[in-house]
């Protein structure tokens, strides 16, 4: 059961269930997204999973024409670019994700600070479909 590890494996198990989860240190109360199995500030700490509200703001982005293999396999390329960015969650931490719902033909009009809400997307990689987190302009 990867969720017992409070790590990336647990995180992606939740993503498969369409949940964005972080871990919280039971002693210091610190919240970690992406999750951590270990709380450096209090050198230890038992962890628990916490679900995020999924609301946030766009903090940085790019519109990529030449992506990695997994994005090429998912159908992206110079004629069908995608947006990827960093979204700061209302809960404080930030995370990298594909950004949806923006007009990618006019990247200069995309605004840092745009409110975002969580969504989940599927990409075909090789022969598998995999679920990833995404954010959508609201």
């Amino acid at each position: 059961m990867s969720k017992d590890f409070y790590n990336a494996a647990g995180f992606y198990e939740y993503v498969d269930e369409k949940k964005l989860m972080g871990t919280r240190c039971k002693s210091s109360g610190e919240l970690f997204v992406p999750p951590r199995p270990f709380s450096p500030s209090c050198s230890g700490g038992e962890m628990e999973w916490v679900e995020m509200s999924g609301k946030g703001k766009l903090e940085a982005f790019t519109v990529t024409l030449y992506g990695p293999t997994r994005m090429v396999e998912a159908g992206y390329g110079p004629k069908n670019p995608y947006c990827v960015g960093i979204v700061r969650l209302d809960e404080g931490p930030a995370i990298s994700a594909q950004i949806l719902g923006l007009d990618l033909t006019k990247p200069e009009e995309i605004k840092i600070g745009t409110p975002m809400k969580l969504t989940f997307l599927e990409r075909t990689e090789g022969e598998e479909k995999k679920t990833y987190i995404g954010f959508e302009a609201t």
């Binding site: 903090e59 940085a60 790019t62 519109v63 990529t64 992506g67 930030a94 990298s96």
Partner: protein
């Protein structure tokens, strides 16, 4: 906590590099032999390679680029260093800088009096998509790669944050490219020995030869603005915002300070060395700066007892154009949000008050990842000794700095050199 210091001073008495570029048929071993020979020729009074006590090498990923991991003993062997200790340092694009740190430490620790430091990478045997994949293993494979970030993408995102807060534009980035290509055109070891104007002429000649209509641009900036000549890779970054895929190697000879005069009357002393590690991009509170650079700079300045304004020669890690602008702020040369204006005003050009990347930078000189941080020192060596030829800075400079970033800035190594 009082700053800790090295117990023993370290001097640079030789520095050399292979040409940077694409060299089919040459492995990192061959490239390093070229760098070693160039370094040998640079040692004014000569030296006996048998006196080298240890070797520290920077390499990012020969295991992926050329199918050869464990390069340290092979590279040591290529230049006859066995059975001396040989250790490879890896810190992505800061592998070279990290190797320098290890070389300094070896001498300061007393275990070595003379150290060979090297950096090397052989990237051009792989197709571009494969190179992109290999470089991407230096970003966070658990949370950044899966989101779709490439390396140009990560730095493009930093650029959007910087542009949004401070008002810089795509034009700023084009002016970085213009400037670095001006410098690189004067560097015979540079991958692109060409100004942007030379690229224009090349395109025109090529069209002419093929009997196609000859393209015209009003000036260099018009060329860089033209999406056919300078296409977007990852908005806002275009082709000419990215450093190239390169092969190359560089080599340095370090000795204990008190031995330096045996090898040259003009040694450089490594008076400052700072290394810092940091978090992945999504964990940073401010995406308009690179904290590791500020921290590594702080440590190096403190050790050297100098301040940013004292630095006369400076090579920064311009893996992408906007990175150079941010670096000049991180290092304290300009205030926050002022770097792009300084660049546009020409202050960082060779004839400006704060010249940056006289070698052409990674942008024009080339970026063979593990060699880049070592190659930066070769430029400082030449400039501080008055040997930089046509691109020599005036004013007999004595103080130089190198700034070497790893990954999206999760490691930075800053070195400060003085000719006393």
């Amino acid at each position: 906590m009082a700053a800790k210091r090295f117990n023993r001073g370290v001097a640079l008495v030789g520095a050399g590099m292979s040409s940077f570029g694409a060299f089919p048929g040459k492995t990192t071993r061959d490239l390093f032999v070229d760098a070693f020979k160039d370094m040998q020729a640079s040692v004014d009074k000569g030296f006996d390679p048998k006196d080298i006590d240890e070797c520290y090498f920077g390499n990012y990923s020969s295991s992926q680029f050329e199918g050869q991991g464990f390069t340290a003993p092979f590279i040591a062997n290529a230049v006859g260093m066995n059975p001396r200790p040989a250790i490879r340092a890896e810190n992505a694009c800061a592998s070279g800088g990290s190797a320098i740190r290890l070389g300094v430490m070896a001498i300061a620790s007393g275990i070595a009096d003379m150290v060979l430091v090297g950096g090397y990478e052989k990237e051009t045997d792989q197709p571009t998509e494969k190179v992109t994949e290999i470089l991407a293993t230096a970003s966070d494979n658990l949370y950044e790669n899966v989101a779709g970030f490439t390396f140009p993408g990560l730095y493009a995102a930093l650029a959007t944050a910087y542009m949004h807060r401070y008002g810089a534009t795509g034009e700023t980035m084009m002016k970085v490219a213009l400037q670095n290509h001006e410098n690189g055109a004067l560097n015979p070891k540079a991958q692109f020995g060409k100004k942007i104007g030379d690229f224009i002429k090349m395109k025109q000649r090529s069209a002419e030869k093929k009997g196609k209509p000859v393209p015209q641009w009003d000036d260099e900036m018009a060329f860089l603005r033209d999406p056919r000549a300078n296409p977007v890779i990852s908005w806002p970054m275009r082709l000419f915002d990215c450093s190239p895929v390169s092969d190359g190697a560089a080599a340095l000879l370090l000795v204990a300070d008190d031995m330096a005069h045996h090898f040259t009357d003009k040694p450089l002393h490594i008076i400052g060395n700072g290394v810092a590690s940091g978090v992945a991009m999504h964990d940073r509170t401010d995406l308009t700066r690179i904290e590791t650079a500020t921290e590594a700079g702080r440590v190096a300045y403190e050790m050297a007892k100098v301040s940013p304004k004292d630095i006369q020669v400076c090579e920064v890690h311009d893996c992408f154009t906007m990175t150079q602008v941010i670096a000049t702020e991180d290092l304290g040369f300009f205030g926050r949000g002022e770097g792009w204006k300084a660049l546009e005003e020409g202050r960082t050009a060779r004839d400006g008050d704060r010249p940056i990347n006289t070698s052409g930078g990674l942008k024009s000189k080339g970026h063979p990842v593990g060699a880049s941080g070592v190659g930066q020192v070769v430029e400082v060596w030449k400039q501080l000794r008055g040997e930089a030829g046509e691109r020599q800075l005036p004013g007999d400079p004595t103080l130089g700095l190198t700034h070497n970033l790893g990954g999206s800035g999760q490691v930075c190594v800053v070195n400060i050199f003085e000719r006393k």
